[in-house]
Assembly symmetry: C2
Homo-oligomer: 355 residues x 2
C-alpha cells in the first residue's frame, strides 16, 4: 500500500470516503445503529441482485453439494445476534505516514441485529469430507485490486467456520438486508473485523489447503514492509469512542460545551473478550473509571459507558477514553503502525472548549 | 468560504465527507434510493429526539397558534410525493479553486417517497394574518457556523410556502423517518435544493419581513466575492448522472468494460421543469439521444435513461451525459463558478477502458 507523509487527502481517497461512509459519532447514543448510519465498506460496486434467480452454491470437499434459494435457507433453524462490526482500517487516516486506502478517521463501526441461520448447520448438512481445512466465501461483487480482477473472496479456517455464532444472514434489524449490506445473503462473523463478513454471498467452497486469494495474502495482513509475509488480521481489538459532547462547529467539527456538569457517553467493544472497563480522562494524565451498561443483548455487541464530567473552569480540554477487555487487552495510547493501517485502535482524543 | 487551489483535500473536509455521505453512483440503478444510500448533509449533529415530548409549534403572524404532537399531524390529510433531492453543493469538490466546505464530487443526491401532510393545510388552519411575507422553519440541530451559534433555520417566501407540493413529512419510503433524515418531522420542498427541506422540525413561524438568518444571507447564495449580496440558491438545476459501467478498480475507481455492446444507464432530473431529454457522448463531440423512462411516479422524481453503446475497438474512452428540461435549461459543459460552489452541474465525465 502506498504511503503519504502529508495531512492532505488525495482525490482518490476522497472518492472512497464519499462512497464508504462511517457512522457519525453522535450515533453512539443509539444501542442499535439506525439503518444508513452503520459504517459501509464496499470494495467494488453494490451489485443489483435478482432474488428469484439467486442461489447459494455449497460445494468443494462436501458429501452433498447444495444449491439453495433464499426460501430454502429460511426454512432452516433461525438465529439472531446483535453484533458490533468494525472495519479493520478504522483509524487509518490518522496515521503518519498514512497508508493510502479508504481514509477512515474513527467512525468505521456500527451495531446491527443480524438474523439468519448458523453456518455450522449448513456445513453439517453438506457433510465435510476428510482433508477439509478451510471454507472459502465468494461474493457477487467484482472488481480489480492490486492489478488483479477478482470477486471479493475471503476464507475461514475450519475451526473458525464452525463457531456456532457465525451466521448466514438475510436480515438486518428485523428487515431484509439492504442492498449495500449484502442483499440477499451475507456472512456475519461476530467478533472479527468486517472484511471477513462477506456480502452478496454466491458460494461457499470447502477446500483442502489454505486459500491464497488476494484478500487473504495481499490485503488484510499486519506487515511492516511490502515483502513481509505478515500475520492475518482477524479479531477486533478493544476500542472505545465518545459521542462528542456539546455542539459542533459546522466546518471544523470543534466542540463547545457549556460550563457545568456534563454527562459524557460512548460505547466500547472488543472482539477478543467482553469489555472489562472504560476509563475517561480530561487531562491526559488522570483516568477515571466510567460506568458500564450492557444495553444490547449478547456477547458480540458493544456496551454503553457514561461518565459525569464537571469541568473546573472555562478553557480548553482534551477528553479521552480507553477500553480494556477481560482477556487483558488494553486500548493503547498509540497503536503500533503497520503498512495497511489495520487495527489502529489508539485512544480517541476529543478537544473541547468549555465556555 | 475559503478557497483551495490544490487537488488535495484537508482533514476538515475529510471529516465532513466521512459523516455526510453521498449515494454510490451504482445506486442510480434503483428508482427509489434504498435507505442508507440517499445522500445526507447534516450541518451540526443528528439530534436524539423523544417523540413523546416533541411538539411542532406554529406561531408568529397567525390567528391561531398551534402546538401539535405527531399524532395530531397524522390525523390531518395525508399526501405522498416521490422527490429527487440534491445538495446545493453537489460537484463542489471538482471546482478550481475549490470552495472549502463539504467536499461533494457527484454523488449528493437521492430519491425517496416522502409521506406527510401538505404545509398549506396547516398554514390555512392557523390562519395567516395581514402583513405575513415569509415562513421561518427551525430545526432542533444546533451548532456554530461562521462564528455564530444557531439552530438550523431557513425561510420560504409566502408564495413558495403555499405551493401544494410542500410537505411536512414523517415518513420516508413508507417507514418513520430515520434519525438522520429528520425524525420525527421534516420539511420537504420538492424541486428545491436540499438546504430548504429543514430536518428535525421544531417550529414554524410566520414573519412580516424577510428572514435574515445565517443560512439565508451568509450561506446558500450565488456570489463571486465575499462582499457581493448575491442571489439566493433555490431550485435544482438540471443534471444527469451515469451509473459507471463495467467493473471498478478498488482504489482509483477506474472502470474497465468488456468489448461488445453495453447498456449505459443513469438518471436525470431538474427542479425547474420536467426533463425533456438526455444526450450521451463517448467522444466529447458527437452526442446521441438516450431513451427516457419515467419509472417513478410524479413530477418531482428523476427519470431513468438508457443508451446502448457499442465501442468500435478496445481503448480509452470518456463517456458523458447531459440533461435538458422543458423550460430550456441545459446542463452545461462547465457550470459557472461561484464562491460557495453551488449548483455546480457541469457534465459528468466517466473515463473507461474497453478491453
Amino acid at each position: 500500500m502506498p504511503l503519504s507523509d502529508t495531512g492532505e487527502i488525495s482525490l482518490e481517497e476522497l472518492q472512497l470516503a464519499a462512497r464508504n461512509h462511517g457512522m457519525p459519532l453522535e450515533a453512539l447514543r443509539w444501542p442499535v445503529t439506525p439503518p444508513g448510519l452503520h459504517y459501509l465498506l464496499i470494495h467494488y460496486d453494490v451489485p443489483l441482485v435478482d432474488p428469484a434467480s439467486w442461489r447459494l452454491e455449497v460445494g468443494g470437499l462436501v458429501e452433498q453439494p447444495l444449491s439453495l434459494t433464499l426460501d430454502d435457507l429460511r426454512s432452516r433453524p433461525a438465529a439472531e445476534h446483535a453484533v458490533t462490526m468494525e472495519c479493520a482500517g478504522n483509524g487509518r487516516a490518522r496515521l503518519t505516514p498514512r497508508p493510502i486506502s479508504q481514509p477512515w478517521l474513527h467512525e468505521a463501526v456500527g451495531t446491527a441485529v443480524w438474523g439468519g441461520t448458523p453456518l455450522v448447520g449448513l456445513l453439517e448438512e453438506a457433510g465435510l469430507e476428510p482433508g477439509a481445512v478451510e471454507v472459502v466465501f465468494t461474493g457477487l461483487d467484482r472488481g480489480i485490486e492490486g492489478g488483479e480482477e477478482q470477486a471479493y473472496q475471503r476464507s475461514l479456517g475450519l475451526h473458525d467456520a464452525l463457531m456456532p455464532e457465525v451466521l448466514l444472514a438475510w436480515q438486518m434489524n428485523g428487515a431484509p438486508l439492504l442492498p449495500q449490506h449484502g442483499f440477499p445473503l451475507r456472512l456475519v462473523v461476530p467478533g472479527w473485523y468486517g472484511m471477513t463478513s462477506v456480502k452478496w454471498l454466491a458460494s461457499i467452497e470447502v477446500v483442502h489447503q489454505p486459500f491464497r486469494g488476494y484478500q487473504m495474502t495481499a490485503a488484510y495482513r499486519y506487515r511492516d514492509q511490502e515483502d513481509d509475509e505478515g500475520e492475518p488480521v482477524s479479531r477486533i481489538q478493544p476500542r472505545s469512542l465518545m459521542a462528542p459532547p456539546g455542539i459542533p462547529d459546522f466546518f471544523t467539527r470543534a466542540r463547545t460545551v457549556q460550563l457545568g456538569p456534563v454527562e459524557l457517553e460512548g460505547r466500547a467493544w472488543s472482539g477478543c473478550a467482553p469489555v472489562a472497563g472504560v476509563e475517561v480522562s480530561a487531562d491526559g494524565e488522570t483516568w477515571h473509571e466510567a460506568r458500564l451498561e450492557r444495553d444490547v443483548e449478547g456477547r458480540w455487541a458493544w456496551c454503553r459507558w457514561t461518565f459525569r464530567w464537571d469541568p473546573p473552569a472555562p478553557g480548553e480540554y482534551v477528553l479521552a477514553c480507553r477500553a480494556r477487555d477481560e482477556a487483558g487487552n488494553v486500548q493503547p495510547d498509540d497503536a503500533p503502525w503497520n503498512l495497511g493501517g489495520y487495527a489502529s485502535n489508539s485512544v480517541q482524543r476529543v478537544p473541547v472548549t468549555v465556555a
